[in-house]
Amino acid sequence: MPEPPAYESTITPPHSVNLQVSLGRVQLANPILVASGTFGYAREMESLVDLSRLGGIVPKTITRLLRKGNAPWRTIETPSGMLNSIGLDNDGIELFISHHLPYLASRNTALIVSIAGRTHDEFVEMAEMLSAESGIAAIELNISCPNVSGGVDFGTDTSMCERLVSACRQNSSIPIIAKLTPNVTSVADMACAASAGGADAISLINTCQGMAIDWRRRRPLLGNVVGGLSGPAIKPIALRAVYQAARATETPIIGIGGIATCDDVMEFLVAGATAVQLGTVNFYNPKASMEVLDALPEAIGELGATCLDEIVGTLNID
């Protein structure tokens, strides 16, 4: 078997820029993460990306039991974006722990495990199960998937959200991140609820609900009829949500939504995100995370900053 071609960075980061960030109890070497559902279980990407350079990896969301996922078609391209309705196709937490975790936990990067429960108790049970394992930097509660029934309620009801985050926090030694949906009236209220529950960090946004139709056949294009919109098309929505959430709470924010370039990352940092997750771009530019990491120190330097704290939330709105 030939050796996979290694990714070679062409830019040496200036020593003067410190990329380390803290998300509550979670320390990251840099703010560039990859989002759940857009990076498989990382094994798929190892010939294209130097995984150890990433600030962290969020593998595909796992559920308590195996889920076969939704019927095809599961994705459809839309202007500057795509709709998906995968339906949390995964093998369940036990096989994740036995099969994927050993690989993921030994990549020399922060591992953030994304979980989705159907009920409050199922979320808590999964958080407890993961607490018994080593090598997990944080648990991301996917309370925002638009393509399954159940879990999303925790992302749209403030009291359910707070109660869930609090219970997971109390029953797990691993830091907790709440991943929020944009499909609410007030993202700020949801961020405050997650914060009140004790979240170490809040990640947002998950996909925006949407659909696509073939009018000639009078048929939806997605097997599940409706799905979630992602990609550059939703970046302005995500920026707005991050800005509002960051102003509403002191809890660190992880920005997600259409981030594809270093410029996009900088916009999210200025808006108030402490870290970011690259999502859909992994599908159409698998090396995007490496390109962003190459370019980031220079962009930070351009603002005269030497660390992320000097950038995060510095939006000037006067």
Binding site: E46, S47, G69, P72, R74, T75, E77, H99, Y284
Partner: protein, 299 residues
């Protein structure tokens, strides 16, 4: 590497064909030639990809520096092009204009940049066979020039090269809607492939379905020494799978399911397959296929 024996992961949950040797390249178009109605052949230099890709594998192709279209699309290897020293140097992809990306690709000129990543997927079987019958529907012909050349001993693919015991005969049963959509005939005939054409409207070859041609080829030859490799519309592949079963001939089908990434991370391109326990599960075409034993597909 792509063949199953090369996979280092043995767990039944692991994908059989991770993109272990894949890389991403920005390349430039060197030729873009019209072959038939709405059908083009694009060529780009990419020695690394040309050296490693094998027949039946695919690559993802995206127009560079644009978000419109946003995603790449999967394309089969048509053939590799050798340099003057005889080393694989460039890639040919033959494509049908069906949407925005292919329409814009058709308008691309020499020097235009495109992004590609590959090689991806498993490729067709390299197991020896006396008579390889390739069955194509429309643009589904694209994987078969390279496969035919390989099984006729005319060309080797992969690093190290796939070892193929030459077949005594390679037939391509090629169905098109009409003559104006027929492409690659000189290429197929030029390397010694026995070409059997069918057209829906009778404008070329057998007037009727390609499946009728497949039946005839299997009847006139000894089915016991044949294997089928098939690529085309799903209904056609299902019908060919039925014929293969009736004649007890092994049959591989190359699926094209809507795909966003090509590398196994999006879980879009799933196909319903039978499991050893008799239950079914969705499998990712990009990392479990695109070539499947037709008996594994829950049509």
């Amino acid at each position: 590497m792509s063949d199953a024996q090369g996979s280092s992961v043995q767990s039944p949950l692991a994908a059989a064909h991770y993109a272990d040797s894949a890389n991403q390249y920005r390349v430039v178009v060197t030729e873009n030639e019209r072959l038939a109605r709405d059908t083009y052949r694009v060529r780009f230099a990419c020695p690394e990809l040309a050296a490693t890709i094998v027949p039946g594998q695919f690559l993802m192709l995206k127009l560079a520096k644009t978000d419109d279209p946003l995603l790449g699309r999967p394309f089969a290897l048509y053939d590799t092009v050798l340099d003057t020293a005889g080393n694989p140097h460039a890639i040919d992809v033959v494509y049908l204009v069906v949407g925005k990306l292919t329409a814009r690709l058709a308008a691309s000129r020499s020097g235009d940049a495109i992004d590609v990543w590959g090689p991806l997927g498993n490729g067709f079987s390299s197991q020896p066979v006396e008579h390889l019958i390739m069955v194509a529907g429309g643009i589904g012909q694209t994987p078969f020039l390279a496969l035919g050349r390989e099984f006729l001993g005319r060309r080797q693919y992969g690093v190290p090269p796939r070892v193929i015991q030459p077949a005594k005969k390679v037939t391509l049963c090629y169905g098109v809607r009409s003559l104006d959509l027929l492409s690659g005939v000189e290429d197929f005939k030029g390397c010694g492939i026995d070409l059997q054409i069918a057209s829906d409207d009778g404008s070329v070859g057998h007037h009727g379905l390609v499946t009728e041609v497949v039946e005839k080829v299997l009847t006139e030859n000894s089915a016991a020494v044949c294997r089928i490799a098939c690529c085309g519309p799903e209904k056609m592949m299902e019908a060919v799978a039925g014929i293969a079963r009736a004649h007890s001939v092994p049959c591989e089908v190359s699926l094209e399911t809507p795909m966003a990434c090509g590398i196994g991370i999006c879980f879009s391109c799933v196909v319903k397959t039978y499991q050893p326990d008799g239950d079914w599960d969705y499998k990712r075409t990009c990392v479990e296929g695109p070539v499947f034993d037709c008996e594994k597909i829950a049509w």
